[in-house]
Assembly symmetry: C2
Homo-oligomer: 373 residues x 2
């Protein structure tokens, strides 16, 4: 994009001004409190142990514990008094002591393939919305689409001892699947629809997504179509479905271009350039994700093509920035936040010892048509 060079992909920097940010030098103040172990703040230090509450309430510690965890087992009056004291003093249970004794952590680990992905983050947010009000905390990690990293993270789960784990994806490596099962905690996979989820699943069929893309193209009257995407993971599934759909509808797949990275507009741009250079008279392109599609769309327009007449572009993933690009990107996707919420509520049920009657769920894929197709 930089300058007018079109070949160079890493956007060259035309002009860089450097400025050492220097507001009037701040005194290295504020150090006072931090660093010490037990900051005692403003006098009214909150109690740190359950016995202190017990003393104030005139009951035994275990009763306070019950009032907090199983309120129904404590007499109305006592319970009210205890909770009032807890509230007033700002007492907070020590989660480490609790986890140690009960074997129940309040941490739920969430692994995203890529923290930069809007949709994955939305799913995690949705999951957090359900779990946090119940006192659980999400610990977020990134697998970076790397099996090695995934394996490392799963190892570290053994140390972390979370109450449950969720992934924005499915675990393919058998060894990792075994390791996860061995944790003996609820496991949530998402974003695909494998036959044999490890434990619970809120997913959708990427193959169906690809098929839907082909059907959409067929319905709009395009016949010469192409695919841009990764050849592994979900990209491969979307391609599989796209091929099936194309065959069924009698479309010609004139090219399948593979890219290495996920979420790269530049790769999409380059791939479209390459596709056009092949002179395949392609009419419509399905990109396995929205950022690739955004790159392709920008490149097409840069070359003076009109969408969708000269070429149609279809993305995947409901990325709202990409979809804003004129003339609007048609895209297939799911409601990621809702997926996250569903995942969260299943996890919650499982953590409570209930048995969800439907531990494997499918969410709806939708195609949103805009100007690009």
């Amino acid at each position: 994009m930089s300058e007018s060079s079109t070949a160079k992909r890493p956007p060259t920097i035309d002009d860089v001004l450097r400025l050492r940010a220097a507001e009037p030098v701040p005194p290295a103040d504020g150090e006072a409190a931090a660093g010490e172990a037990a900051g005692d703040a403003d006098g009214g230090a909150a109690p740190t142990r359950i016995v202190e509450i017990a003393r104030l309430a005139g009951v035994s510690p275990i009763t306070v514990s019950r009032a907090l965890r199983q309120p129904e087992k404590v007499a109305e009056a006592k319970r009210r008094k205890i909770l009032e004291i807890v509230e007033r003093t700002g007492y907070a249970t020590n989660p480490h002591a609790r986890a140690l004794r009960s074997g129940q952590s309040n941490i739920v680990a969430a692994f995203v393939s890529n923290l930069q992905s809007q949709q994955f983050c939305l799913a995690v947010q949705g999951c957090g919305e359900v779990l946090e009000p119940q006192g659980y905390q999400l610990m977020i990690g990134q697998t970076s689409y790397s099996y090695a990293k995934e394996t490392t993270m799963i190892q570290s789960l053994r140390e972390m001892r979370p109450a449950a784990v969720m992934f924005t994806g499915v675990i393919e490596i058998e060894e990792n699947r075994r390791a996860l099962r061995a944790l003996g905690i609820p496991i949530m996979e998402t974003w695909a629809y494998p036959r044999d989820p490890i434990d619970m699943l809120v997913g959708f069929s990427n193959i169906d997504g690809g098929r839907l893309a082909a059907e959409h193209f067929a319905g709009r009257g395009y016949r010469r179509v192409a695919f841009i995407g990764r050849r592994s993971g979900r990209g491969a599934l979307r391609l599989t479905g796209f091929r099936e759909g194309a065959r069924a509808a009698g479309l010609d797949i004139v090219a399948e271009l593979s890219v290495d990275r996920v979420g790269s507009m530049l790769d999409g741009r380059r791939a479209l350039g390459e596709l056009l250079a092949r002179n395949t008279a392609v009419e419509a392109v399905f990109c396995a994700n929205d950022l690739l599609a955004a790159g392709a769309l920008l490149e097409a327009r840069r070359l003076g093509m009109r969408l969708p007449d000269d070429i149609a572009i279809l993305g995947f993933g409901h990325n709202d920035v990409a979809e804003e690009l004129p003339p609007g990107l048609t895209t297939i996707g799911i409601d990621s936040r809702d997926l996250g919420r569903q995942a969260g509520s299943l996890i919650l049920q499982r953590m409570r010892g209930e048995t969800p009657d439907e531990p494997t769920r499918a969410v709806e894929l939708t195609l949103t048509r805009r100007g690009s197709s």
Copy 2:
């Protein structure tokens, strides 16, 4: 963007196909292992207590503990043997027991203003890169630019008892600042340069950023300039600097448009439309963040304006998707991942009981010029 309607902001959906994703129904398998407490997996269950390692190594538990935490205090041979056994058996320390006894958690809480922000996520990733190899785990929360949410989260920190906290922002509310100090743990603020950080800071001056914007416009010969951004938080600081710089350079600020949301292309688009409707003969617009700038840029081009001749646009934040938009967005920003790394290493020092000699650091602001200015 939808259809050809230009007024409606929430992109209308032209056409929605629904498809119940239905791969061949998967057997609700995989349930087997999960749900139970102590999954005993494949026979070779890893030891869960330090005594088991001690027994295998023929030493006392405390020696194993030392070999793990303070290896230099254990004789070479014993240490090697112990670590070999730990490695081989896959023993993992129970973090809860450890935290309970030592008072040292291995959890670092990180709060981002918005999980959807590429730059904030990058900073968190950078911080994690430094902390994770040292055995710390990042727990990520979102404050949603809401003081109320911020207060709630800070409350929950009392329960969580992390080893340190980092924010992609600074804490303004005095009550929250007090509450944080009272935690007695290292606190890291970022993304601004206040005079009185709570504890540690890796930041930059948003005022300088605004000033830099004005200077850039002056240098390029624009005189009639405008601002689009929030009137609170960092947006307000950037505006302050922009005003100062404009005054110093003799520029006319012909308009200051405020938006309510952060990270909204639509708001940027609308604001630019409004600005142009005012007929102020504006030559250059500084948008307080890149997504606003992207919206403004798209709107300008939709109206057939050429950049930068008809209008120049300057963003803030180094968002790489926004900056890809033709003709390339000029933007001011920092290296967020590096900021995160610096923050991480300061936090690390503090957690180790060292006293960083420079607990308040400034990172470099850079202006990257592309086609839009």
